[in-house]
């Protein structure tokens, strides 16, 4: 069917995206600027050792960070540069922010990718099964474990996994080893614990949502029709019911990608020492390296925006009834 309205919709959303981006930029900038801390703070002990006068050093550092200029000037330079696609220079790591992100995104990505895929696969399958077998023993077990899954604090889970499998049993390293090539079994192996850490919660969530979505649709009339057509049960469930249940699922999975992942992946990276965007931004925050903080915030925000948009578009194709204007 024709979806010309969809194009207008996308344009509208992109327009919003710009506004939102500006909002985020400004908020982040203000936060950085009103904050009392100075990039020179962390040098104090070093200065003391050298018997330096902190006032001079602080001045020098802040001058290089451009903090000596008036605040509005800083703000406009900063916006201007971003508009020109210049993400700025990261002082705490001495490389262009964009380069920094280019080198580190993959570490976050692989983690998120594997976790999401595995969580989605397992969660959906279990969910379907326990929905079809509602009130059966398996259903109760699945439900209970999904409860545990969503309730277990993932950072604690990570620590426990390290304690058990790395410290006690010594099956894994206690840290992520970047000298292992990305595309190798070794890397897959060392991703196991992080992926479990990040994936458990998501999987549990997906299980619950799939189950409920399936249950909602299993009771619908068209299921009876499908059966009356003589379709085998697998087709009835797998095609007719699931195809309808997928709609809410898409939203939830996408939403997870946007939000939960950025909390969870963040902690997971810190716990396992994975040099992904989470760890980078974490260190950047503590180093007052606002260029990086802003970039990461923006990226994740845009990711969320993009994902929402993608969801809406996917929806428009998955559910012929939907229509935005």
């Amino acid at each position: 069917m024709r979806k010309t309205w969809l194009r207008d919709y996308i344009i509208k959303r992109l327009f919003y995206a710009v506004i939102i981006a500006w909002g985020i930029l400004t908020i982040t900038f203000v936060l950085v600027r009103v904050g009392p801390s100075s990039p020179a703070d962390k040098y104090l002990s070093n200065l003391a050792a050298r018997g330096e006068d902190p006032a001079q050093v602080t001045a020098a550092i802040e001058a290089r960070y451009g903090l000596d200029k008036p605040i509005h000037e800083q703000y406009f330079n900063y916006i201007g540069n971003l508009v020109r696609g210049d993400w700025g220079w990261s002082f705490s790591t001495s490389m262009p922010v964009i380069e920094l992100i280019k080198t580190h995104w993959i570490y976050s990505f692989q983690l998120i990718l594997f976790s999401t895929i595995l969580a989605a696969l397992a969660g959906i399958l279990i969910g379907i099964y326990s929905a079809v077998r509602q009130y059966s023993k398996t259903d109760y077990i699945a439900t209970f474990f999904s409860f545990i899954g969503i309730s277990i604090p993932n950072f604690w889970l990570g620590v426990m996994l390290i304690l058990l499998f790395a410290v006690q049993l010594g099956l894994f390293k206690t840290y992520y080893d970047t000298s292992i090539p990305l595309f190798s079994l070794g890397n897959l192996k060392q991703l196991i614990l992080p992926v479990v850490t990040l994936g458990t919660g998501m999987m549990a969530g997906y299980t619950r949502y799939t189950r409920s979505a399936m249950l909602d649709n299993l009771r619908k009339d068209f299921v009876r029709t499908a059966r009356a057509k003589g379709l085998p049960e697998t087709t009835v469930i797998g095609k007719h019911v699931f195809r309808n249940a997928v709609l809410p699922l898409v939203t939830i999975i996408m939403f997870d990608l946007g939000s939960i992942v950025f909390g969870g992946a963040y902690l997971t990276e810190i716990i396992f020492g994975i040099p992904g965007l989470g760890r980078i931004s974490f260190n950047a925050i503590f180093a007052d390296d606002y260029a990086v903080v802003v970039a990461v915030t923006l990226i994740s925000a845009f990711l969320v925006l993009f994902i929402n948009l993608a969801t809406d578009i996917a929806y428009a194709y998955l559910d012929p009834r939907i229509r935005y204007d």
Partner: protein, 557 residues
């Protein structure tokens, strides 16, 4: 048949013996991984760096003029001869080696050094953080010293005032390549982002290692530099690669060492016994320049009693340094009585008032002193330190106990580092709108009131006079507001011509530490000992305060 085999084996054995008899085989190769849970460096463009990690990273690829062994004996590096100081102590003549090369094959000349000083460090555009190292006060204003090229391999640095310890600054000098730097001269942004400097592509044969890779917040990798000027005869360095690996927590670093994933890391005091017991791991306990002290707030928003020397002495009398060392540092510390460590060439023992160890550890006497000073009623003091630093927090708890025993209630406050700096260290004169600094003069007070503060800094054993930032009236880091004319005077003299003579200088420092240890501006608690744990296979290590000085000669057996 069997017999032949025996003989063969015998032969082999003897060969081996012979081999081992003549000097140990140092074949090149292997990867040395040094694990740390400290933060990452900020830049390889070290001239812009203010943090020590950055100098550490760059230091693998470029040598300074000289370095020191564990007994502070000068070890020549890029310098051909030790820096010569004219008798009047004003002219420093530096002679560099003639076999130093930049990566493009061009010679490293005196010109490069002078350029580095004049056009980079001294320039207004670059914002070199440590300018003041190269400044002297003439007629009330800070002016730069004057470097001068003499010939290809010689240059001089001329001062107008005498400062004996200036030589240590000179000896630490590291050059920037003029032929590259000129491209960026005057443009700080371009200079900051210059690829040559940020990837250390210019270092030629100046360091034992060449830059390979730096994965931020994860690892810094350098590989063997076959041209290394010190390696011509020895074949040094012997490691194929040297990697600095960063860990989130020291616990993970420890685990990595235990698993054999890394070659070296520093061990937390409480874990030392565990590692000492391990096969295949050597733990060297070495002195450091780091010292912990308990600062007394002598400013107007601290307990007024602290302004009285006897009261300070009383407190120091009551706090056992032995206890702190044993409980907090697990025995890995030495009691401190001034900012000059035992390992410093300037250290003198006699005449120092050793508060906090027998016999100057006496709670009764402490009480007596307090009463004499007129403080007999119970009082409460606030002790503050930065949260998340276990050592300092623990010391806080112990101080609370110790002072409790002499009837002083201590309230502990642990605050984040930034908060500590802003609200407790920095101070300004009330009512004025001056910029808060660490020392805004006598009238200034910190935003939040405090009485005691546990702090840790490190001192420079070669030029202790640098510590005047803390203890002289105008010292830029004198946040606790200590002021004593005698101390100021001693610091001044330690920096003046009368200190040109080693002996005289040492005597001045002896005097200084006597006064300080008796004055107790702060309660010096302990100098920390570090525990460096290596895999046993690493050879050639000389444990000591500067154990890394010959690390290019270390090798795997």
């Amino acid at each position: 048949m069997k017999g032949r085999l025996k003989i063969l084996l015998l032969l082999l054995a003897s060969v081996c013996l012979l081999a081992s008899a003549c000097q140990p085989a140092k074949e090149v190769g292997g990867v040395f991984i040094s694990g740390t849970s400290a933060g990452d460096a900020e830049t390889l463009n070290w001239i812009l760096a203010a943090d020590s990690a950055s100098f550490g990273y760059a230091g693998h690829t470029v040598d300074s003029l000289v370095t020191y062994d564990n007994e502070w004996r000068v070890q020549l590096r890029t310098a051909a001869r030790d820096v010569e100081v004219s008798d009047d102590g004003l002219v420093y003549t530096v002679t560099i080696r003639d076999d130093l090369m930049w990566s493009d094959g061009s010679r490293v000349t005196a010109e490069d050094y002078v350029y580095t000083l004049e056009s980079l460090m001294f320039s207004d555009w670059l914002n070199y953080p440590y300018k003041s190292d190269w400044q002297e006060e003439v007629g009330g204003e800070a002016v730069f010293v004057t470097p001068q090229v003499v010939d290809e391999t010689t240059f001089t640095i001329t001062r107008q005032t005498v400062y004996p310890e200036f030589i240590y600054t000179v000896r630490g000098l590291v050059p920037y390549p003029k032929y590259i730097a000129v491209k960026y001269e005057g443009d700080v942004e371009a200079f900051t982002q210059a690829p040559e400097f940020n990837n250390l592509t210019y270092t030629g044969n100046l360091g034992p290692y060449k830059f390979k890779e730096w994965l931020r917040n994860d690892k810094f990798v350098v590989e063997r530099n076959p041209e290394y000027y010190l390696g011509k005869d020895t074949g040094a360095p012997y490691f194929g690669q040297y990697i600095v690996k960063l860990f989130g927590t020291s616990a993970t670093a420890h685990a990595a060492l235990e698993a054999g994933d890394i070659t070296y890391t520093d061990i937390d005091p409480d874990k030392v016994s565990k590692f000492k017991k391990m096969e295949g791991i050597n733990v060297y306990t070495v002195p450091t320049t780091g010292y912990l002290f308990l600062a007394y707030n002598l400013r107007d928003n601290g307990w007024e009693g602290l302004k009285i020397k006897e009261v300070r002495q009383a407190l120091s009398l009551a706090i056992s340094k032995g206890l702190i060392i044993e409980q907090v540092l697990y025995g890995f510390g030495e009691p401190a009585f001034s900012f000059i460590p035992r390992v410093s060439p300037c250290y003198v023992d006699e005449g120092i008032a050793k508060y906090g160890v027998e016999p100057l550890l006496d709670k009764e006497e402490a009480k007596g002193l307090l009463i004499n000073a007129g403080y007999d009623k119970p009082l409460t003091l606030t002790l503050v330190t930065n949260a998340g630093n276990d050592e300092r927090e623990n010391i806080g708890y112990l101080v609370k106990e110790e002072l409790g025993a002499i009837g002083i209630e201590v309230e502990l406050k642990f605050v984040p580092w930034a908060t500590l700096l802003r609200k407790y260290l920095m101070n300004k004169t009330p009512g004025t709108d001056e910029e808060p600094r660490y020392n805004n003069g006598a009238g200034a007070v910190s935003e939040e009131p405090w009485d005691l503060m546990v702090m840790g800094f490190s001192t420079n054993p070669l030029s202790p006079s640098g510590q005047d930032v803390f203890y002289s009236t105008k010292g830029g880091l004198n946040f606790f507001g200590y002021s004593n004319t005698q101390v100021d005077e001693l610091f001044r003299r330690a920096k003046s011509e009368e200190a040109l003579d080693e002996g005289a200088r040492k005597e001045l420092y002896a005097e200084l530490s006597r006064v300080i240890s008796e004055e107790q501006p702060v309660d010096f608690l302990a100098f920390q000992l570090a525990n460096a744990a290596f895999q046993k296979k690493v050879k050639g290590i000389e444990p000591g305060i500067n154990m890394g000085y010959n690390y290019h000669l270390w090798y795997f057996e």
